[in-house]
């Protein structure tokens, strides 16, 4: 029997190794690194002041002077895009991090405890889910007032429910696996069972979903900013730039297209990372 246990590459701590072996993960990582660098060094990279208006150069198409053109106030689109990265990334990351943490905890707890507690909690979350994200975000943002922090809180709250749902389903199926029962028989407490035996076996689902929901968070940010409940103008955000671009979509396509591309690239990077992370977390897929 013992002889069959031969060499195999999987070792604890090989997470980074496994992650780095995946070529697509490098693409995602590179993209995200570029986006983050752009956000951090925005003042150094941006060719113009993003708020400076230039009435003479209104709605200029992309040219050598204005690489991505100008908007209806004559502001440089590239500079606004670069500064907008900061807002979108901050809002997306922090809001999703909050929603993921709180949502997963609620989901695991509801799934593990079960019974009436589960029904009450999931019922309340269903009520939250029944509101369109935008409407709920709008209500919360209106209650809290327009600022960056409140925008993050509003978006985080709207996305707790989906995370709780994503976390609850695998918890219920894991709860019935023998290794969880074995843990109870060995005298492990519920916190240890949830944290050590259930969470690591379902976190990949949550992580992969979080990259998708981050796109939704960036979209919600866009919508709320447009309505005036997000980051107040004239601060540039990708969302508000797209909305402003819609007004002139027929004669100034560059206004909406470039911020949309920025969102697309960010979401693509997050999805590639999410997939690679899921594969790297699973020891079974890691060995391959």
């Amino acid at each position: 029997m013992g002889a069959a246990v031969s060499s195999s590459p999987a070792r604890p701590g090989g997470l980074w190794l496994a992650f780095s072996k995946n070529r697509l993960s490098w693409v995602g990582l590179a993209l995200l690194a570029i986006i983050i660098i752009v956000a951090i060094f925005a003042p150094l990279i941006a060719p113009y002041d993003p708020l400076e208006q230039n009435i003479v150069a209104r709605l200029e198409p992309p040219s050598a002077e204005f690489l991505l053109g100008t908007d209806s106030y004559g502001r440089d689109v590239l500079s606004r895009l670069i500064y907008g990265t900061r807002i979108s990334l901050t809002v997306g990351f922090i809001a999703i991090l909050i929603a993921m943490t709180i949502g997963s905890m609620i989901g695991i707890l509801a799934g593990y405890v079960g019974g009436v507690f589960d029904q009450i909690v999931m019922g309340l979350l269903d009520v939250m889910l029944s509101f369109p994200t935008l409407l709920l975000g709008l209500m919360i943002a209106a209650m809290l007032g327009a600022s960056l922090e409140n925008l993050i809180i509003a978006i985080a709250i709207t996305e707790i429910a989906p995370f709780a749902r994503i976390a609850r389903a695998p918890t219920i199926s894991l709860k019935q696996r023998d290794f969880v029962e074995a843990g109870r028989a060995l005298g492990f407490g519920p916190v240890r069972i949830m944290g050590v035996h259930i969470l690591p076996n379902m976190i990949s689902d949550v992580v992969v979903m979080s990259s998708l929901w981050m796109a939704s968070a960036i979209r919600t940010e866009a919508s709320l900013s447009f309505i005036g409940l997000g980051v107040p103008p004239p601060t540039p955000t990708w969302g508000s730039m797209i909305r402003e671009g819609f007004e002139n979509i027929l004669d100034a396509w560059w206004l909406a297209v470039f911020p949309s591309l920025a969102i697309l690239l960010t979401v693509l990077a997050l999805n590639l990372l999410g997939d690679a992370l899921r594969d790297a977390i699973d020891p079974k897929l890691r060995a391959e």
């Binding site: 029997m1 013992g2 069959a4 246990v5 195999s8 999987a10 070792r11 604890p12 696996r177 023998d178 290794f179 029962e181 074995a182 109870r184 028989a185 060995l186 005298g187 492990f188 407490g189 240890r192 050590v196 035996h197 690591p200 076996n201 977390i281 699973d282 020891p283 079974k284 060995a287």
Partner: protein, 336 residues
């Protein structure tokens, strides 16, 4: 009830489940999965628990460890009331009673190395220093016949038999006195079954372990257990010394079980007992003796009254109004 003799004593254990119910669900029904089950496992012995699928064997096994909370009855281990234990006392009891599961693919956390899996119980119970823990898990893994190198690996790198060994090692690290083995070999290949049984036997002899051995394989139980309980629809219908029970079954159901399990002897002619009907649903058991619709000997009180588990011979009990008769047993049976 005797105190502190290391025995597991189970008296009148019962577990009911409700199915259906709810606002729009079907009509609520009570399933009596385990009914009035009593047995004793003296220290250092093995008791077999046999029966068909769905007869409540696993429910009994899990109730003993309170993985499922029983509804009634008492479970006493070494003089301590298991059902009343709380907090630290319960944790202490869990150290002394361990379980080995049927499905080796589900019993190990896929995200934890074998080392982590074996260390964890010792860490949680704060048993020893890091070095002592390391020594202990090395002993445990070699005791079940795996090399130390196995510790660094993940469960998916092992075969079913190897995983079952790991599951046994995990049950052993806390130095338990009683192992509840819930069909420990039935998910394995026959050749591997023998290896695992040998591991369990060696441990039983070396460590003086008691076993409650749940199985549907009469051959395995005959080999492993001194005494056996036969369960049918949540009740024990016969118990006694394994060889006697299987050689001269008193209850018609035991006879049926025995006659329907294959004997590895080409000269033995298989004379099948006539099997009538199917196992009734535990949600809707027949009145009287639950076995009567399938029983060739059923008559009179069998249809209306539940037979008690009575002594029919020295150390042999059966719940039957018309037990099988065997030469040498007749006189006692008639008197019973």
């Amino acid at each position: 009830m005797t105190a502190g003799n290391g025995a597991l004593e189970v008296r009148n254990l019962a577990k009911h489940f409700t199915i259906g119910g709810g606002l729009f669900g079907p009509e609520k029904k009570l399933v009596r999965a385990v009914n009035d089950v009593s047995f004793t496992v003296p220290k250092g012995t093995s008791l077999g628990l046999v029966g068909e699928s769905g007869c409540g064997k696993s429910t009994v096994a899990r109730s003993l460890l309170r993985l499922i909370e029983p509804d009634a009855g008492s479970v006493v281990f070494d003089g301590i009331d298991v059902r009343a234990a709380k907090g630290a006392a319960l944790r202490q009891l869990r150290r002394r009673m361990q379980i080995v599961f049927q499905d080796p693919y589900s019993s190990l956390n896929p995200r934890r190395t074998i080392q982590q899996a074996l260390e964890e119980p010792l860490r949680v119970h704060r048993l020893g220093t890091a070095r002592e823990i390391a020594e202990k898990i090395e002993t445990a893994i070699t005791e079940v016949g795996l090399p130390k190198q196995a510790l660094d690996r993940y469960p998916h790198e092992f075969s079913g038999g190897q995983r079952q060994r790991i599951g046994i090692a995990r049950a052993l690290v806390l130095d338990p006195e009683l192992i509840v083995a819930d069909e420990p070999v039935s998910a394995l290949d026959v050749s591997v079954q023998a290896q695992i049984l040998r591991v369990l036997e060696r441990l039983r002899d070396k460590r003086g372990l008691s076993f409650l051995f749940v199985s549907h394989d009469l051959g395995v139980v005959r080999h492993f257990c001194e005494r056996v309980c036969v369960m049918y629809l949540g009740r024990i219908v016969e118990q006694g010394v394994t060889a006697e029970v299987f050689d001269r079954p008193l209850h018609p159901y035991t006879k049926l079980l025995r006659d329907s399990s294959p004997v590895p002897d080409p000269t033995a002619r298989l004379t099948l007992t006539k099997i009538m009907g199917e196992v009734p649903s535990a949600a809707n058991p027949p009145p009287g003796c639950t076995f009567h619709p399938r029983c060739v000997r059923a008559a009179g009180p069998c249809m209306t009254d539940i037979p008690a588990l009575n002594e029919h011979d020295r150390g042999r009990q059966a719940a039957c109004y018309h037990p099988e008769t065997w030469p040498g047993l007749q006189a006692v049976a008639a008197a019973g």
